[in-house]
Symmetry: none
Subunit: 204 residues, 4 copies
DNA sequence: TTTTAAGCGAGACGGTACGTCGTGTCTTGTT
DNA sequence: AACAAGACACGACGTACCGTCTCGCTTAAAA
């Protein structure tokens, strides 16, 4: 009843082929070199078929990056959320360290760095989508982080009145900064960060 | 001696005109819409004159952003480095708060947000320049931050063995993240961040 | 059957508009000043539409000159072929004279001289097309000439074993030479030429 | 006395180097591809040095073609004028045939055809120089031809009142036509032409 | 001598056109 | 309707030459 399905139905394979082609080209050449023309060609699809489904390059990339075809963030794949390493550890700073170590490992993979860069470029282009894009991208990791910190509060390790959002911003920001600036993430610094934040949040 | 100046020398005015035109167009339309053609036209210069001096749009933007024609970072203008608010305050967390407040104020100016976005886009495009670009961009602010933190260490407010680099990464990363994600910076969160970090770094 | 017409068909109006624009610009400024850019603009067509149909300026000019949009030769318009002056005259040298007079009249028109020059320039540029271009250009006139000479043979005025091709070469060559060298064609010389050739071809 | 020779005198070697470079490039790539930039580079000379001496590409080519650096016509090199084959023969048609055979031989050399084409292109470009260019180019051969025909008149072989200019036009025009249209010159036709013209000019 | 005037190599400069590429839209015929 | 194919107007790309204009330097005649 919602929308009458008249005429020839859209080919669902096309969506997948387009997103897959987008991913491949993105990893090969980067966001700027990516063209809708090339996506259509690689996907074996007419250009119009792409335009019929997405309004802009930024949106295609957003779906390709966030839609499960790619690792969805520097914090881990969406489907890996439940198996975050360190969750449930008895000591808080170990959990934080483990999370940051996992992030560091992901960022040592060039593929993931490319994805982060593509996302930044897409967000820079599309004024109104930037917030949506970043929040979608960082959401899974953020949920993990906050869960982890809240567990610390409940255990009594961390202050009850701590601003966990601010801490999460600092952590994810530091990781994002590292990725964008293409500085190889240094585990010692991340450990120090975990320690400082833990100390700052610690219950007295 | 080094390299004989042969032939007609380059017109120094052209450099300035090009960078100024780049700045104006960048603020008006954003990085993606910026074209070298338009830069040349606005600068009153032949296209070839631009190509003779810069190899890519990313490099022009880098120079325009970093070369003193624009505020050189979300942390403050290069020429404002000495007048950083709060420097020399007697209490550490006040200094940190003041610095973050200044950053927040800068990011509430759409102009500066545009610059940060342009920088992210330029860095995403140019693989090898990204590090150079980000470090040049964040360097002034980073120097301020570290000076501020070191002063705290010397006063005895902060731990002598604290990893100040890690703290600076967290702070600048958080601010960058906020800017890129286009979330209006919220002063309360920044204050919390200052507090947490201070607590974590505090001498016992 | 041959080749399935797939995709959007080409706009036939564009062809005409392009050739017409080419003709106008050619007559106004000459071959060297002619640019594909200007052709496209005057034709109200995108540059790419021109490049999609012709591989070079020389080819466009060839089609513009030969395609019926211009007088197709210094010997007469294609559609004037049947009304060649003098055809059917009872005396051979009069026919030849009339033909040469017509050629002289055409070459006293600056437009036609411009066309001949454009043709020479286009032929000079395009190695392999030169033969095609010249033969297409001179074919109509040559047909007239040969018909005229053959009529003379049949009437018994001219030798049966005369090399009419050689005579036609001499006549067309002389006219072409005159046109290219931009020497105003002198009727007396042309008359002399007709007389000499007639005398040389005459049946004894 | 007229123009005081003040300042540094022009380097005569440059003229030669420029014309030589022009010739080489012309033969290699043709008139259209020839650029003043390339000439200067190949000649080892600054662009301005070329512009100081010649006002246009057409003029440089004219001098290069006519100035003794190249065979100066399809009828023979300037310095070969005196040794024209067949001159002084006892029978007129043999002289004419010999002259045309020599022309045919020259046009079977691709170099000379290229030169003729370059000349035609240069003449097409430069409105006012065309006459000068063609007459300079064809003058040596024309002199030979007319001398040859006049000798026939004096011997009594040819009519005293014959229009020798018209005959020369026909001959040179036929040869030029052949060269430009890039039709391999056919000796039989040229022989026929000689015969027809001789017969037409013959004293009764 | 010292000036003055021009030539010269080098190369920047404002232009203009090149031929290509990608955009997003628009016909075609076919499914 | 969607789709593959491909034409289309548009506009930018990066390059090549145009003809002119500084530069620093050289070369000779005039002062």
């Amino acid at each position: 009843m919602t929308t009458r399905t008249r005429g020839r139905p859209r080919n669902a394979d096309a969506d997948r082929a387009i997103l897959e082609a987008t991913r491949d080209l993105l990893l090969a050449d980067g966001y700027e070199q990516l063209t809708i023309q090339a996506i259509a060609e690689l996907a074996g699809v007419a250009k119009q078929t792409v335009y019929r489904r997405w309004p802009s390059k930024a949106r295609i990339v957003a779906d390709a990056v966030l839609g499960g075809y790619l690792s969805t963030g520097f914090e881990g794949r969406a489907d890996a959320a439940s198996s975050t390493p360190g969750m449930g550890s008895s000591r808080e700073p170990d959990d934080l360290r483990a999370w940051l170590h996992a992030a560091a490992i992901q960022l040592s993979d060039a593929t993931n760095v490319t994805i982060v860069r593509a996302l930044a470029a897409a967000a820079a282009e599309s004024e109104e989508d930037a917030t949506r894009l970043y929040s979608a991208f960082t959401e899974p990791g953020r949920r993990q982080l906050l869960a982890l910190l809240r567990a610390g509060v409940e255990r009594g390790d961390l202050r009850a009145d701590a601003d966990l959002e601010a801490a999460a911003d600092a952590i994810q920001g530091a990781v994002l900064y590292t990725a964008l600036a293409r500085r190889p993430p240094q585990v010692e610094h991340l450990d120090s960060l975990a320690d400082v934040l833990f100390a700052g949040l610690e219950a007295r």
